[in-house]
Subunit: 120 residues, 2 copies
DNA sequence: CTCGTAGTACGTCGGGTGTCAAACTACGGC
DNA sequence: GCCGTAGTTTGACACCCGACGTACTACGAG
């Protein structure tokens, strides 16, 4: 069996269109420390793509999958398969078009808070 | 009994200090449609204060109390008693100091989305 | 004092969230 | 073909969240 399109074999991931992205969903996605960290790391290296395994998260693989899915379904990141890896990238263009300045303000706020916490 | 300081009689509400405000908490507070609406209304009239009953929310009184408490405990609003009413105001000074530009970006994003939804 | 208005506290309830372990699928290399 | 690596799925779990009704408290007006 498993002729075509098992859940994992689909090789095609559902993303919300730009118009479907909801501010509340984005804020909810970013209100989790793990997910906020992921987005910060993603934004740190420009528009580069990173596999899930690139991130050093304090949770198991299955929890990691869950968090990336929340980020994708809220429209914050875009995920594409590349061989056995799943590459993740910020949807900066869509977010900037929908909510100009928001992503930068959020990233700046996160950086500021991280500096305040780590720096004492 | 109830000589002094019952929970309601305290007439003093716990607020986080500026340093205690966490970005994740603010985002979580704003990720609920009812609370986002409250903050938008609060911001619409400058720094004016409004009683809870000023807002026309699609929930009961007890749920309203809950949402205002979430906003207060996350540091988004400040609540003070004024007779039998409880006045609510945005903590714009604290938020702007902690996360410059964030609140304005969030309000602009919310306004933009509201316009897109209502305007078709 | 009594009444009305504004808001709180408490108990409850269904559903969502974040976490894990274990078993599984998909791809690339050998 | 077989194995390892990367990620998924499922089920379970404890906890939190948003909603409600009811009973309650606080203050001001009369």
């Amino acid at each position: 069996m498993t002729p075509v399109a098992t859940a994992a074999g689909t090789r095609e991931l559902p993303h919300p269109t730009r118009a479907e992205i909801r501010l509340e969903g984005v804020l909810h996605a970013l209100s989790d420390p793990v997910r906020l960290r992921i987005v910060r790391d993603l934004a740190a290296d420009g528009g580069a793509l990173f596999a899930c395994s690139y991130f050093d998260l304090p949770v198991t693989k299955s929890t990691t999958t869950y968090h990336f899915r929340v980020l994708r379904e809220s429209g914050v990141i875009r995920q594409t398969y590349r061989g056995t890896a799943k590459m993740n990238g910020l949807r900066r263009d869509d977010l900037d078009a929908l909510f100009p300045g928001l992503l930068d303000a959020l990233l700046a706020a996160a950086a500021r808070q991280a500096a305040a916490v780590e720096g004492g």
